[in-house]
Structure formats: C-alpha cells, structure tokens
Amino acid sequence: MLQHLFAQGMSGLASASSLFLVASGLSIVFGVTRTVNFAHGAFYMLGAYAAYTLTDRFGPSSFWVAVVAAALIVAVIGALVEMTLLRRIYDAPELFQLLATFGVTLMVEDLVLVIFGPEDLLGPRAPGLEGAVVLLGKRIPAYDLFLIALGPLVLGALWLLFHRSRFGVLVRAATQDREMAAALGVNQKWLFTGVFALGVFLAALGGALQMPRDAVNHGMDLRVIVDVFVVVVIGGLGSTFGAFVAAILVSLLNAFGILILPKISLVLAFLVMAGVLGLRPWGLFGAKPSPVRAVVSRARLWRPLDGRGWFAAAILAGALAAAPLALDDYALGVGSEVLIFALFAASLHLLMSVGGLASFGHAAYFGLGAYGAALAAKALGAHLPLALAGGVVVAGLGAALFGRLAVTLSGVYFAMLTLAVAQIVWSVAFQWVDVTGGDNGIVGVWPPAYAASARGFFWLTLGVVAPALAALQIVVFSPFGYALRATRDSELRAEALGIDRRQVQWAAFVIAGCGAGLAGGLYVYLKGSVFPDSVGIPLSVDGLAMVLIGGVETVLGPIVGAVAFKALSIWLISKTDYSKLALGAIIVLGVVAMPKGLVGSLFIPRALVEKRR
C-alpha cells in the first residue's frame, strides 16, 4: 500500500513540475504587464511543435538541444507578438489585451494545422531517460524524476534572476507598482517585451518538455490554458513561489483524489480554486493589489438615450419586425441567434462595463437558463412562456447564490472565481446524467406551433429580446445604475456616500444572470436541444469577446459587438475551412485598428465635435 502511495505521489509531483513551468510564465507576465495572456497555451503548444520538428529533422539524439532551441525560437515569436500587437494596446481598456491574445490563439490553432498537419505527432523520448528507476519496489519513469528535479531548479533560477539581476529588480518593481517604476525612468517598453519573452520561453519550454510523455497535437493549448489559470490564481497572481506551491497542491490532490473518486479530475482543480479564493481572496501567496489610483476614465460620458435615440431604437425594432417579410428561413434563424447573443452580451455588459466586474463564467447563467427551460419543458411539460420563466428563475437563483460569493472579490480574482463556478456548473451538467442527460444533453425541446416556423420564432425572439434590452438600458440609467457605476469608479467614495457596495453589485449580478438565463432559454428553443457546452468556457469567452469588440466603455457596444461577432463567426464557419484563422486575424486587426471597440472608435469623431461645440 505504502509503495502505491509513493508511486502515486511521485507521479503527482512530475505533473506538478510540468504545470509549474507553464504557470510561472503566465504569472510573471501578468504581474508586470497586467495582461491576462490567453495565448500562453498557444505558445506552449508551439514549443511542443517546434521541438518535435527539430528532433524530427536532426534525430532523437538532438533532444536536449532541440528542447532549448524550440523554447528560444518561440520566445522570439512571443517577443514579436508583444512588439507588434500588445505594445499598441497597453493603454486600451482593461481586458482588451485578453481579446487580442484570444485572437492570436485562434490563429495559432489553425496555423498549426496548416503547417504541421492534423495528426497527433509522437516525439522521441529523452535520451538517457527512456526507462524507469526502481524505487521502493515501484518503477518510476526516469524522466519523471528529471521533471521533479527541474521544477525546483527553475524556481531557484527565477529567484536568482529576480533577486540578483538588474532586470529582475526592475521586474519586481514593476510588479509591485508599475506607475512608480515608470516614474523612476524605467524603460517600460523593453521591460515588458523582455518579461513577455521570458514568460513565453517558460511556456514553450514546458510544452517542449511534454514531448516524451504526450503526443504533440493541436488541442494542447486549450487543455493547458485553463489549468494554468487555475494554478496561477490559487498561488496568487504574480507570485512565482505561489504558482509552484499551487501546482504541487493541485497535482497531488488529483493524483490521490482519483484513488478514492475516479471521476474527480474533471472538477477538482476548480473546487480547490473556489475553496482557496473563499478563504484567501488573493490566492495563497498573492498580496492585495494596491488600490487603483483614481485613473480618470477617458471614456465618453454616458448619456441615456434621448427622445431621438428611443425613436431610432423603435424604428430599428420596427424594421427588424418587418424583416421576416424579406428574409429567408436560414437568415431568420441566424437573425434569431444573433438577437439571443445580443441579450447575452448586454447582460454581461451590465456586470463588466457598468459594474466593472468582468465575469469569465457568464455562460454559467446562460446554461442554467437553458437547462432550466429545457427541464421545465421536458420534465414538467411547461409551455414555452412558463419554461422561459423557469429558466430565468433557475439562472437568477444560481446567480444569487454564486454572486454572493463572487462580489466579495474584485478584478482578476472575481473573474477567476466566476470561471471556477461556471466550470463546476458545467461539470454538474456533464456528470448528472439522470437529470441533464450528461454529454448527450436534452433534445427535443422545440417551440409550439405559433413559433415553430423560422418567421414565428424570429418574432418571438424579437418580442422577448427587444424589451429585455430596453429594460437593461433603463437599469443602466436608473439610480441603481448610477450607484453601480459609483462602486466601479471609486469603491471608497461610493461607500462614503452610503452605497452598500456588495449589495449593489450582488443585485447587478442577479440581474445579469437573469438576462443571460432568458437568452439561454430562448437558445434552447432555437436549437431544440441543450448540451453542456452551453455552460462551457468557450461560450464565456465568446461573451467577453462580444462586449470587448463592441466597446467595453460604451453603452450600446455589446449589442453591436454581439451582432458583429456572431454573424461573422456563423458566416466564416459556413464559408471557410479555416474559420478560426480568419476570425482570429479579424479580431487582431480590429483590436489594433479600433482599440476602443466598434462603437467606442466610431464615436470618437463625434465626441471631438461635441467638445468643440
């Protein structure tokens, strides 16, 4: 028994080391540049592909050289990405860098396919470490022992770099207080590039070192990125040592957890993250972020729609209501889907832009609404209006429960807790086969006769979504909306005014959850079915992308962003084989050309005109 536990522990430690390498890179990059680098997984994957290509070209004996060379090559690519893309948008609204790196990730996924082909590639094992070493009567792979030793070595090397070199001192200074470092004359440009390259180097090294254990494949990026986020957050953002401890914690819990609960891997890391953030809101070794100095937002002042604005909105709604007379069934189906996502994005916008709380798990409430409606219809036989209401109630209750927890946090930690919650909801939908149908979902939820035609359903969707959007618009400019913006702009001043921050943000969370739930319910009837991917991370990321594309600092941005993003992605999937490459490229170009989003950028000339007046 003891032998088995020993072997299990060693295996866990080896996994921890691989995870740490990748996570430390992300943590360092975030600490200095405040960029949530979604492309970190893509660089990890590129590292593996580069190392495979090199060993394939120069033979298995070149393994060690190839691993280091691959990491260096990818680090150079990373530096180029930083210089040409990220450097242009550090001033853009928070999380805009996330959108840019998301675009890069999409592009890399398809590029890898074009360059390296679709098949899984088996790299060589590490020369000299192919076999196993017998310890306590168990065979432990020699490569695992190497990895176990490498983790602390890299940690030590990073410590030396940060504490014994000028570069490291600057990095630590910038991590602690970016503005102060800049004020003291530190050249931020090259510091950021250097840090980004270092982070990418670690990611690519981690990927290249997976070669002897894994098959190099084009899904590696997404598989690692979420785990890495989790580890970084548990450890505390910016803390390399925290990432090290968190990687060990998660990996060991997983290795031993599966002995008792073989299905635990799916959700374990997220349970740990939710637990840690509940006890320590800034992770195990993270410090409370220094309060943001009153950065005056350069956003245009928000104004409620005036009479003319509402008139235009009414005309637009009327025009849409007439659309079924001109469009075919397919276009109407797409139109319904786009409207549903406009509501989804608008509900996220209430949290993200009005409340300043970026949720990375908004799909949870979309999915709860979808499952709520589907179950109400299938299990209780509810009619469509009642089923939609049921979905809203389920989503609202979920948002009330999880929101209570989440609003105790802010910033990236809030984002990560919402992500964890969404992933836990996802795993319930995925595992609770008796109720949710598991992976096979719930099918056969079609609208009744009056909304069965594409035309009827479009009208139904418009009839639900347009009032809901109007209601959200009214909420934004209600006294409640002003209070919410006050908590966003200055927590301290808002509280001094007697605004109960948590109460207001909690209410916003519930309203946003209900909006997303309503969208989710409609979505079920549009598709006739619901599957766990309605709760999945990709949908949450899509929501973020819609709000950011539209313009996070604007009121109408999310609607325009949702229309643009959804219509474009449906069109690209239908028309091209490389939809991810095209969509990613459009996002990257859009980010550079319009760093304030579609609406934000298109409004700038008018803002100037107004100023002159």
């Binding site: 196993a132 189906g333 979902g441």
Partner: protein
C-alpha cells in the same frame, strides 16, 4: 450609427445567399467536425470525395448529378444545428449526412425528426442514436458502441482473467462503452470481478497517476476505451511502468490507423482490439476501394476514409432506390436497403435503422517499427446486433 452597423452586418449575412439548384441535380448536406477533429475528418473528407467522383462518373443518381454541400460544425452541437438549418432551409438538400461526436449526432437526429428530413449518421457511436432516442428519420452506418463492446466481450470471455479493471474517458462514449462491455462480459462469465476503474477527463489524462491507480488494484486484465493523445500518454506511461506486463488488455478502436499509427514504435503489443487493418484485407471489394483511394490521393486510407466513402455511397444508393427526394419515400427506400461496401455487403436494418457494417477484430503487433493488427477477422454487425423484437423494446414508440 448603430443602425448603419446593423444594416451592414445584415447585408453581410445576406451576401451568402447562393443561386438556386440547377436542373438535374440532387444535393446532399454533409456536416462534420472539420475544424475540431481534422485527424479524423481529413481522411473522412477524402473518402466521401472519392465516392462522389465515382457516383457521378457512373451516371449520378438516375442521371442527375449528385452534389455534396459540406459544412463544419466546429465540434459543437449548436453550430451543427445552424449548419443543418442552412443546408435544409437555404440549400434545399434532399437529406443530411455526417457527424462525429455522439452529442452532435443526437442533436442532428432530433433536428431531422423536427424538420422531417432524413439524417444518415456516419460516425457517431452512441447506442441512443438508434435505440433509446431513435426516430424514423435517422439511420446510422458505423458499428455502434454496443457492437464494439460485444465483439470485444466475446474475446474477453475466452481469456482466463477474472480480475478486471477499466480505463475510459469520462463522458458518454466512455461510460456507455464500459457499461455495455461489463454487462456482456459478466453475463458470459459470472466469475469475473471488477476491481478498479479510472475515468480521466477526455483530452486531459494524468497518465502516470491513472496507470499507478490501476496497478494498485492488481487486475489480471484491463479494458481500455482511451483514444487519441490520451491513448498515447497512457501507453507511454504504462509501458515505462510495466502496467501491461503479464496482463491481458482489451481495447476499443485502438486498431484503427487514426489511433495506432501515431504510436509508431511504441505501439502496444498483444492487445485485443477492433480496428481497420487496411494493409491486410484482400477481398476484391476492398482492393478496388484501396486502389482507387491510393491512386487519387497517394496516401493510404484511414477508417475515417471508409466511413466517409460509405456514407455518401449509402446516401446515393438510398436516393437512387427512392427515385425521389421525398422524405417518406427515402425512408421507405432506406429501410432494409442492401448495398456493397469495402468491407462486404451491408444492410440498413428496418427495425432500428442501424447498418450491419462491422469491424475487424484482432491483436496488435509491431512490424518494422510500426503498430499493426494481426490474426484479424471481419466481424459483421449482423452477428452481434440484438434481434428485431429486442430492438423494438429499446426504441421509443413512434
């Protein structure tokens, strides 16, 4: 301003409207996870393109040209429905075909029932597709989970092993494969004991820990459902740690070139598995297929190639027999239709719309540093599928 943006985007959507069908053309709508699963779908696409070429070279569908309009579903059921909607509402296809993931198969099947159009599923393996969630519009080509499990359980029952452990990805496919295998083996061998199970998340196996956890239960035999990159990791860790030494291994689908070839010289030896040994099948119908395939693509076929090829061949045969694109006539034509395939004749059973296409069963071996199947034989689905009465009880009442 926002009004103009709306209009621009609506215009963008509308631009995609194509010209109507030309006379003398029959259209099939094909949907698969092209961008999500290229390792399977690229050979699959080559397979159906070859079939399409052959069909039109031989006069098409009763003189009409056959066209296949192919769409990507990005691996998501909801996107598959969008694509199906486009194919049915805009392109006016006669029937739908394709699919890889089980949940996408189920979503398309349900869509087909709602829109009253025939759906011919190629790959999705879930038993629910033709049984518990079966409907009269849905047909399926590939041997299902149940058939794979039955073929393997037959062989497993002949092994001396009594203590069994299972490793399967933690989602519907893995769960139902293990459930079917356990039920069938326990029925044949009441003395079998199930001593351990591991359910790593699909695509994220922690192979070392899983291998150790299985070893700790000390089984005499292991049944495996892992595939793709997870399989590679499991085999590598298991080989290094000696997990498979002195143990029998029975493994789903591992003999398919898609999964066996990437393992190169590290391919497992002596596993009992189902698969596709294209290098050793010398029936005339397979020879004709492989020659045509190699001539056209200068590459060897994978199992996906056969699935793609036969899916479109079956769709064409149904269309030709029905002499119409009317759904009811297509269903009538498809029920009980017999047609040739590279694996020999297959029938779409009238009782559950499952084809009798089978799989090759054999043992894995290493030849010239590559994994292959040896001692294999073809197992027709007809010999493993339950009878009509049993199937009727499994399907919902129409």
């Amino acid at each position: 301003m926002e009004r103009r943006a709306w209009a621009r985007i609506l215009g963008l959507v509308l631009l995609a409207t194509p010209a109507g069908a030309s006379a003398g053309e029959v259209k099939i709508g094909e949907i698969n996870s092209y961008s999500a699963l290229p390792a399977f779908t690229e050979p699959y696409r080559k397979g159906w393109q070859l079939a399409l070429e052959e069909i039109n070279a031989q006069g098409g569908i009763n003189g009409d040209t056959l066209t296949v309009i192919s769409k990507d579903d990005a691996g998501k059921p909801a996107d598959a429905i969008t694509a199906a909607n486009e194919l049915v509402s805009k392109d006016g296809v006669a029937l739908l075909a394709g699919g890889f993931f089980s949940n996408i198969g189920l979503a398309l099947s349900d869509f087909a029932a709602q829109k009253k159009i025939v759906y011919l599923a190629g790959e999705p393996l879930t038993d629910a597709l033709v049984w518990s969630k079966g409907n009269r519009y849905t047909f399926r080509l590939r041997p299902s989970n149940y058939v794979q499990a039955a073929i393997l359980a037959d062989a497993a029952a002949k092994l001396p092993a009594k203590r069994w452990a299972t490793i399967a990805p933690n989602y519907e496919y893995g769960q139902s494969a293990i459930a079917a295998f356990k039920k069938l083996l326990s029925a044949k061998r009441p003395d079998v004991e199930w001593v351990g199970e591991q359910w790593p998340p699909q695509g994220k196996i922690d192979a070392g820990s899983v291998a150790e956890a299985i070893a700790a239960t000390n089984p005499e035999a292991i049944v495996n459902v892992e595939f793709g990159a997870d399989l590679v990791k499991l085999v590598r860790e298991g080989n290094t740690r000696g997990l498979f030494e002195g143990r029998s291994v029975v493994s789903f689908l591992t003999g398919e070139p898609e999964y066996l070839d990437p393992l190169k010289a590290e391919a497992p030896v002596g596993w009992y598995t189902t698969g596709y040994p294209w290098y050793g099948i010398d029936t005339p119908e397979h020879k004709a297929f492989i020659d045509a395939y190699k001539t056209k693509y200068n590459d060897y076929p994978r199992l996906g190639s056969v699935v793609g090829y036969e899916t479109i061949k079956a769709a064409a045969a149904i269309l030709a027999k029905a002499k119409s694109t009317d759904t009811d006539k297509l269903i009538a034509a498809a029920e009980g239709i017999e047609l040739p395939s590279p694996f020999g004749p297959v029938t779409f059973r009238a009782s559950d719309h499952q084809s009798t296409l089978g799989a090759f069963f054999g043992k894995t071996a290493l030849v010239d540093g590559k994994g292959v199947m040896v001692d294999f034989s073809y197992k027709s689905g007809a010999n493993y599928l339950p009878g009509d009465a049993e199937v009727k009880a499994l399907r919902p009442a129409e």
